[in-house]
């Protein structure tokens, strides 16, 4: 018991737990759409594309989260606009913007002299450095995304499962898809401080993929994913505290461990359940 309570006596650790749980839940919920709509590449790209925004915010001595937010929204809308023209495929548009934004970020950062330490934080997260203000911003954005997802549950379900039905019902498909990109961008930005740009995609995809193996309906998949995301965050932080390893990596590795267990044992087609009956 003391082992569990010990880290919580530090205010920075309580803030770290709160921020990680919010991020775990948020990433998992948006990750459900990422997994079902095959947007994993997009999520990863968006995380990396945040870099120039952060660098510019740093240069201007503004809030890094706000800088990241602006960059992510520009990239999200840019991908939407490029792909909508229909001249190039969406994954090509993503590839181009992703590489360009990442290069711009690296170029900006390489022009600064004292950035080496913070760059590590951007890439892999700095959950122990979450300030009270950061926590409020994280919580605020988290609530905004979750409320939007809850309100638009049905339209998002229909455009994801059956775009033709969405068209018959005259849903504004392009607008909803764009909105989904914006929500994804917000989620990635929020996860920046916890797991960093390098690992944000893992938090989007891994808990949602685990939940996909364990459930057969969208809402339970979302809820199970959220639970797994939060649990990974908590377990990962403890591991990080006691084993003294980078928190973002510990959280992602925990989530991956859950995935492996589900993959081996899940009722749908778990590897260990697929053995011929005679052997079991």
């Amino acid at each position: 018991m003391d082992l569990l309570l010990e880290p919580l006596q530090y205010a920075f650790m309580t803030r770290a737990f709160a921020a990680s749980v919010i991020v775990g839940v948020l990433c998992a919920v948006m990750g459900t759409y990422v997994v079902l709509r095959g947007m994993a590449f997009l999520g990863d790209a968006m995380a990396h594309a945040i870099l120039p925004g952060v660098a510019i915010a740093y240069l201007l001595q503004g809030n890094l989260l706000i800088g990241a937010l602006v960059a992510a929204l520009v990239v999200a809308l840019g991908i939407g606009v490029f792909a909508r023209q229909g001249q190039i495929k969406e994954d090509t548009a993503i590839g181009i913007l992703f590489a360009a934004a990442l290069s711009l970020g690296v170029a900006l950062i390489s022009s600064m002299k004292s950035y080496a330490v913070d760059l590590g934080h951007i890439l892999f997260g700095d959950v122990l450095g979450v300030s009270v203000g950061d926590l409020w911003l994280t919580a605020g954005l988290g609530v905004l995304v979750l409320v939007t997802v809850a309100l638009l549950y049905k339209p998002f379900l229909v455009i994801s499962f059956d775009p033709v039905l969405a068209a018959t019902m005259r849903l504004p498909g392009d607008l909803l898809r764009m909105l989904m990109l914006v929500l994804l961008a917000l989620t990635v930005v929020v996860s920046l401080q916890t797991v960093g740009v390098g690992l944000a995609a893992a938090m989007l995809v891994t808990p949602a993929a685990t939940a996909y193996l364990l459930t057969r309906r969208l809402l339970p998949m979302m809820l199970v994913a959220a639970g797994l995301g939060a649990l990974s965050a908590i377990v990962g932080l403890y591991v990080s505290y006691y084993a003294n390893i980078v928190s973002g990596a510990a959280i992602v590795l925990t989530a991956t461990a859950f995935f492996l267990v589900a993959w081996l044992l899940n009722p749908k087609q778990g590897v260990l359940r697929r053995r011929p009956r005679g052997l079991v």
Partner: protein, 253 residues
């Protein structure tokens, strides 16, 4: 609820993707409750026509009217039963979920399912003989069951116009029968049905009207008038063989 105008009126419609025009200058009108077989070779524009009718493809020119008003004014009017290959069968939804989606437009996009919606779903599932599958995952269905689930969803939409893309291809006999039975029920309720099919036999036997397409309208009318050697040659060309006894064989695949 009868309407004096034709249910569906297409006037000089041209439809296509990007720079490519697939269907040009289509003009026809379908009265209430008619069953129309949409026939033509592969790539003739059957699916393209349906996509325009559901509002997925814009018209490049011309007009489409439903009940005398431009397409899009009645959003709950048209229901579409997709080809089975178009559906992601690994999406985490149950049979009940899929059919309930047909009600979303009526019940509003925010909030839960009302008792009336649940009853409509149950009724539609029963009518298609798949009520026992309600809580099953769509990944677990057989081909025939998959199709019936989507037919049940179309019923739950209570449409005025029902579009089906190749419902007779690759399904078992019971599903084919229940699809045809459904067409009869719908006609009794004045629902217009347009069905794309490769099966000319079913088209002639079971449908009131035939729409023969090959990038443009070749013929439209009762099957007896449409099925002339001349029309079939214009539609199918090389796919068609004239037998010695005057019968015609078309390999529409």
């Amino acid at each position: 609820m009868k309407d004096t105008t034709d249910q569906l009126e297409v006037q000089g419609a041209s439809i296509g993707y990007g720079d490519k025009v697939v269907l040009s200058d289509l003009t026809f009108s379908v009265p209430h409750g008619a069953r129309v077989a949409v026939v033509g070779p592969n790539g003739a524009g059957k699916s393209t026509l349906f996509k325009a009718l559901v509002g997925l493809l814009p018209l490049r020119s011309g007009r489409i009217y439903v009940h005398g008003r431009p397409l899009g004014n009645h959003k709950d009017c048209v229901a579409y039963v997709p080809q089975r290959e178009e559906v992601d069968w690994h999406f985490p939804v149950t049979v009940g979920d899929v059919v309930m989606m047909g009600r979303y437009d009526r019940q509003g996009w925010i909030g839960g399912d009302s008792r009336a919606d649940k009853q409509a779903v149950k009724r539609s599932l029963q009518e298609m003989g798949v009520a026992h599958l309600e809580t099953r995952s769509i990944a677990d269905l057989s081909g025939g069951e998959q199709q019936r689930v989507f037919l049940a969803r179309a019923l739950a939409q209570e449409p005025h116009i029902l579009l089906m893309d190749e419902p007779f291809t690759g399904v078992d006999a019971p599903t084919q029968d229940s699809t045809l039975g459904l067409l009869d029920d719908l006609q009794a309720e004045d629902v217009t049905a347009m069905i794309a099919t490769h099966d000319l036999g079913i088209a002639v036997e079971k449908f009131d009207l035939m729409l023969l397409l090959n990038h443009k309208l070749i013929a439209f009318g009762p099957p007896s008038q449409v099925m002339t050697q001349e029309n079939l040659r214009a539609a199918f060309g090389a796919y068609m063989t004239l037998l010695a006894d005057g019968r015609i064989v078309v390999d529409a695949h």
